[in-house]
């Protein structure tokens, strides 16, 4: 029988990164599509200025986060796996409508289901690098030689701009689907609450040591020590949707 336990799953930096990144992507899209000419909100000049500033913030955040991923070993969370990949896809297409259980169990060691792993990994190694590289090229491609950076010798802005625009459309599509899929946790808001507070109710198997206690996480340990124990509710009794 599955038991439920409150687990500290998203650490402070992780949440800071996630929400800063979320804000920056929203803000970059807003200013970026104004630069694209889709609408007028800030005014073109301000939009460009804000977009560039937000871009630098995004780059700095990314550098910090890469550091965090490697020092904490969290990068392993994004290793792709084929295990359960099909089951996860089938769950979203069929299972979810039949009240079937999530095929992938969320633990601290494995927070992401196989589909998430695949999507987030492609963001990390494909979409973000392309957006950052094309964005930097967009900024610097024709700096005059007397500027700080020598001319990169790119003849036209067109390729850069189109690449950057395609990436932007993909990111918006991602955000739309992502915002929807976070409602597919145990409850409509359980994923959202977890990303805000760091705490989430996760299932543990009967007799199994709760994963949370096996993790070497001194900070989390301390927080748990200072947190009063909550009696886990039974899954079946909860209003699901």
């Amino acid at each position: 029988m599955a038991k439920k336990e409150k687990v500290y799953i998203y650490k402070l930096y992780e949440r800071f990164w996630h929400w800063t990144q979320a804000f920056l992507i929203f803000f970059l899209a807003l200013t970026g599509f104004e630069v694209h000419g889709s609408f007028t909100f800030f005014g073109f000049e301000n939009a460009v200025d804000l977009h560039n500033k937000a871009a630098w913030a995004f780059i700095i955040l990314t550098i910090f986060t890469i550091f965090w991923h490697f020092t904490t070993g969290e990068w392993k969370q994004y290793l792709p796996t084929t295990e359960n990949l099909k089951a996860q896809a089938q769950y979203y297409i069929f299972g979810i409508f039949r009240n079937a259980p999530h095929p992938t169990r969320k633990t601290i060691l494995s927070k992401l289901n196989p589909l998430q792993r695949l999507v987030y990994l492609s963001l990390k190694i494909l979409v973000f690098p392309v957006m950052i590289a094309s964005g930097l090229a967009y900024m610097f491609y024709r700096y005059p030689s007397q500027g700080e950076i020598l001319e990169l010798g790119i003849g036209s802005l067109e390729t850069i701009a189109l690449l950057h625009t395609i990436g932007a459309y993909i990111l918006i599509a991602f955000v739309i689907v992502h915002l929807y899929l976070i409602t597919t946790g145990h409850t409509l808001t359980s994923n959202l609450k977890a990303m805000i507070t760091g705490w989430e109710e996760l299932e543990t198997e009967e007799g199994e040591t709760p994963v949370s206690q096996t993790i070497k996480d001194p900070v989390g340990e301390k927080i748990r020590e200072n947190t009063p124990q909550i009696t886990p509710d039974r899954y079946e009794n909860k209003e699901e949707i």
């Binding site: 460009v48 700096y143 459309y169």
Partner: protein, 525 residues
């Protein structure tokens, strides 16, 4: 709590510090301040010509004045013989033509077509005496007119129809004792009146510049820098910087903004990046002909109409002639928004010997070379002067009409108003073939706009070009301009992707809601 403090110290504080470092600190425009200081120094002449003994006399022969100048300035006469202001032709290389010797002496223009057979009146603006026909002696230094450029009294007048000779009986004694560095009035005496009247030709060079505010021209404005033409058109040994592409072809010896302002004059790097592809003039001359109107259109084909058997003229509300029997229809405009073209500083010209291509919508009197892929090209503001010029439909050449003469009955269009005779006389003078038939061809001439630079606060703003519709760059091709250029495929696929995502999400949510209710019913029953 301690954890949060650690987090703030290790993450947030470094982020704030990095952001502060990357932020552009506001700087003072030191270069501009230095330029202002340099050019506010008054010019102090090294010589007071009124103290020269040779000038203490009256003159009635202008050649003698020149000889007197040369008696002290011994080498200047020879310099002038090689100056474009005197030769009206220069050696250039034109892509597709090779080395050419072109200038006002042998080129067409979109105004009075050319000087040929009309020299006596057109060449009032020649820096010489007696250029009344093609036999003028360009090798005689005593044919140079020193005074038109160096008279500082502002009173020197050249005679109408006098082939460059001055109006007789002027107070030459006072004039020669007050010669010096050319002023705006000297240059403007000819350059403001190109095309036969104030501001007719250029649109950005006119009499108002002698008294205008810095709103009209930030450099020449009397309440601004109050610069003289030669401050920018730097001259050494009578060789001056500056090109007018109605008669020039090469990208050399140009007077540029960069010679004072450098290629990175802005405090904002974003603006400096624009310098690579956008000429300074494009943003800083948002409009020209800011005071008096300039002629934008000249239709020769309607010239010659009579009212009650007499020549007549019609004027617009500003007093500009919109019809003249001697010149045809005209259109005038003030505060003109320039048209924009890629331009690399080289140009070609339609020559008297060139063939008119009647399949083209219009004939280019001159062609500005350049395109988006040419690293030398930048986007320039241009006055496009449109017109209709006479041409020979059989030989397909542009026809020069004889326009002017001292007397009636010698075929001058402006007196006799007879096209047939005027064209015959003009072509006979040129000694070029003429079939006897004539028609008119639509023409365009391209005059890059360089003057009437507005104060920085009036410069174009980003959204003037970076806009989807009706921007300044709407007809400029070949460049991706953010905010203006779109790729239809990328945008439609992108929007489709977003719509599909929304539809997918909504469909999924609806099915989820319905099945959830169904499941609930099943559970409760």
């Amino acid at each position: 709590m301690k954890n949060t403090v650690t987090f703030i110290l290790s993450v947030v504080v470094p982020l704030v510090i990095i952001t502060l470092i990357l932020r552009d600190a506001s700087r003072e425009n030191k270069l501009l301040a230095e330029l202002k200081e340099e050019y506010s120094q008054p010019h102090i002449p090294s010589v007071d010509h009124s103290k020269h003994e040779v000038l203490q006399r009256d003159f009635d022969n202008p050649h003698e004045i020149t000889a007197t100048c040369i008696s002290c300035h011994t080498e200047r006469g020879q310099e002038l013989l090689n100056s474009f202001h005197f030769t009206w032709e220069r050696e250039d290389f034109i892509e597709g033509r090779g080395v050419t010797y072109l200038g006002k002496r042998n080129l067409l223009n979109n105004f009075c077509t050319g000087i040929f057979s009309n020299e006596a009146t057109c060449n009032r603006c020649h820096a010489g005496y007696g250029y009344s026909d093609k036999n003028f002696d360009f090798t005689n230094q005593y044919n140079v007119d020193c005074l038109v450029c160096h008279d500082n009294t502002g009173s020197y007048e050249k005679l109408r129809g006098g082939a460059g000779y001055p109006v007789p009986g002027q107070d030459f004694r006072t004039i020669v004792q007050n010669v010096g560095r050319p002023t705006k009035a000297n240059c403007g005496y000819c350059h403001f009146h190109g095309g036969g009247g104030n501001n007719v030709k250029h649109g950005d060079l006119e009499e108002a510049l002698l008294t205008a505010s810095r709103q009209v021209d930030v450099h020449m404005g009397v309440d601004g820098a109050n610069l003289e033409c030669v401050d920018c058109h730097v001259t050494q040994n009578h060789v001056m910087k500056g090109r007018y592409y109605g008669v020039s072809s090469a990208n050399t010896r140009r007077a540029t903004c960069e010679q004072c302002h450098t290629a990175a004059p802005h405090l904002d790097n974003m603006l400096n990046t624009h310098v690579e592809k956008i000429a300074c003039q494009t943003c800083h001359i948002p409009e020209y002909a800011k005071v008096n109107a300039t002629k934008m259109f000249w239709d020769w084909s309607t010239a010659g109409e009579l009212e009650d058997g007499r020549a007549f003229e019609l004027y617009d509300e500003q007093g500009n002639p919109i019809y003249q029997s001697i010149k045809g229809d005209a259109a005038w405009q003030t505060n003109v928004i320039p048209e924009y073209f890629w331009f690399n500083g080289t140009a070609d010209h339609f020559l008297l010997s060139d063939k008119v291509d009647t399949t083209e919508a219009f004939l280019r009197i001159n062609t500005l070379f350049g395109d988006a892929n040419d690293p030398e090209s930048r986007i320039y503001p241009v006055k496009v002067h449109r017109g209709r010029q006479p041409y020979d439909p059989v030989y397909l050449t542009i026809l020069q009409a004889k326009l002017w003469d001292r007397e009636a009955g010698r075929g001058a269009l402006w007196i006799d108003l007879d096209w047939e005779r005027a064209l015959v006389e003009g072509m006979k003078y040129l000694d070029r073939p003429y079939s006897g038939q004539w028609d008119f061809v639509d023409t365009e001439m391209y005059l890059p706009v360089n003057h009437m630079v507005s104060p920085a606060s009036e410069a174009l703003q980003c959204q003037d070009c970076h806009t989807r519709t009706n921007g300044r760059m709407q007809f400029v091709e070949g460049a991706y301009i953010p905010g203006k250029t779109t790729n239809a495929a990328v945008d439609s696929l992108g929007v489709l992707l977003i719509i599909m995502s929304f539809l997918g999400v909504i469909t999924h949510a609806v099915i989820r809601y319905i099945s959830h209710r169904k499941n609930k019913v099943v559970t409760s029953s």
